[in-house]
């Protein structure tokens, strides 16, 4: 899925966070949005993932000739993995199954895809464990599995390795690269880690003073 962002502005309590952000994300590949903490990367991703509304500007999902309306159907084609993933107080399995369950899929229908998604992120053995007993790296991997299971056409990752150790960072990066190989989703990821951007990105964008520049 393609996304065109035009002149997005956002302020909180009078303080401008996004000044005038425009960018086009074509279908496929990994775009990495870089910038220091607090520069507005998360706000930008939250607006693009339709979790928040911009004060001004426009988001155009799909082709210019056939733009998609911002309804539940569109929201279900995109997803965002938050930096604090928001793990539900239940098992790893039930967390992974959530996106399919809210889409009305029966328990018997979700078992296979859940196992597959958990195997993809290396958590299959922990499917019956309470999700909140996972380490922070495993939690982040579960967040990614939970997003992948719904097969999003556009996947936003907000600092997916910000609070995890080196070992889990390497695992998460390899998961992201595997996702790229599969080519199912357009991935837009925010990070403040320059080296990580180099390792993963097909394209790097830099956010500076609430504006986006191509690097």
């Amino acid at each position: 899925m393609k996304l065109a962002v035009s002149h997005i502005k956002k302020a909180y309590a009078g303080k401008a966070i996004l000044q005038d952000c425009s960018a086009v994300f074509d279908k496929g590949g990994i775009s990495v949005l870089m910038g220091p903490n607090g520069c507005g990367k998360s706000t930008f991703l939250r607006i693009c993932a339709l979790l928040e509304e911009a004060d001004r500007g426009e988001l155009l999902f799909g082709d210019d000739s056939a733009p998609l309306t911002h309804d539940l159907a569109l929201k279900r084609r995109i997803t965002l993995v938050l930096p604090r993933t928001g793990i539900f107080n239940t098992t790893v399995f039930q967390n992974a199954a959530y996106g399919l369950r809210v889409r009305g899929r029966r328990p018997a229908e979700v078992a296979g895809p859940v196992r597959e998604a958990l195997a993809f992120v290396g958590l299959e053995q922990k499917k019956d464990q309470q999700a909140r007993t996972l380490s922070s790296g495993e939690t982040q991997r579960l967040g990614i599995a939970r997003a992948l299971i719904i097969e999003p056409e556009m996947l936003f990752l907000d600092e997916p390795t910000a609070s995890v150790d080196q070992e889990n960072t390497a695992i998460i990066e390899s998961i992201i690269l595997d996702m790229k190989k599969q080519g199912r989703s357009t991935v837009i990821m925010a990070t403040h880690d320059r080296d990580q951007a180099e390792r993963l990105a097909d394209r790097v964008l830099v956010m500076n003073r609430g504006m986006i520049e191509e690097r």
Partner: protein, 234 residues
């Protein structure tokens, strides 16, 4: 001291040789309080969720009022319900005065602010990231609400435990609207009050011990469930 010791002996004796009358009193206590708690939960949980999850004019006033009503004096509730359902009251035609239904109404009024205020508190304490995560995964607004309520389930259980304690121990309002009629509206607390008045301290104390034991058992079970499942958001 002698009365207390006698009371304990009598309590164990009563428990071991439970007679039909006492069994009926215990059963009615549980039925009245249980139904009041059920109605209060059915009404209080959505009310607490509404106050916790929606913004609307007068919300702060509603929350403050609910918190204030948690301290409702039972006799005032009893008087209010009495005036409402007495023969000359607006609901007098229903013929509810001095019936278990009247006691359930009074106890529901006492339990409702506790359930709704504490449910509200449990729901607003759910980490906002939970609702955001649900939305990012494609949940509808209704599904997001259910997810947040599920996350608050152990706090909600606490509210039910607190309300259960309140209604089981309550005597003022049910005495006024129930009338303490033997075999019909006599429950444990009103029997304790009556037996104390009659100077029958052993029986009163024995019933007190049984009441405490029931409360302890219910609380222990609910607390066990709560302890097993409550985990903070990472």
């Amino acid at each position: 001291m002698d009365s207390i010791a006698q009371g304990f002996i009598r309590a164990f004796d009563l428990i071991l040789h439970l007679n039909a009358e006492l069994f009926g009193i215990i059963l009615l206590s549980l039925k009245v309080s249980g139904l009041a708690l059920l109605v209060a939960t059915i009404l209080g949980l959505p009310l607490g969720a509404l106050l916790g999850l929606r913004r609307f004019p007068g919300r702060d006033l509603a929350i403050s009022s609910m918190n204030t009503l948690m301290g409702l004096p039972p006799v005032v509730v009893g008087l209010f319900v009495y005036l409402l359902i007495s023969r000359k009251g607006p609901l007098g035609f229903l013929g509810l005065l001095y019936s278990p239904s009247a006691m359930i109404i009074a106890q529901t009024i006492l339990a409702l602010p506790i359930v709704s205020a504490l449910c509200h508190s449990a729901i607003v304490n759910v980490d906002p990231v939970i609702g955001q995560a649900a939305r990012t995964l494609g949940a509808t607004p209704g599904q997001v609400t259910i997810t947040i309520i599920k996350e608050a389930r152990y706090g909600i259980l606490s509210s039910i435990i607190a309300a259960f304690g309140r209604v089981m121990a309550e005597v003022g309002s049910i005495l006024i609207v129930g009338g303490n009629i033997a075999g019909y509206t006599r429950v444990m607390t009103t029997t304790i009050a009556l037996e104390t008045d009659k100077g029958n301290f052993e029986l009163a104390l024995a019933l007190g011990i049984i009441l405490l034991a029931i409360s302890f058992f219910v609380n222990a079970v609910l607390h066990g469930v709560q302890k097993r499942g409550a985990m903070p958001s990472p």
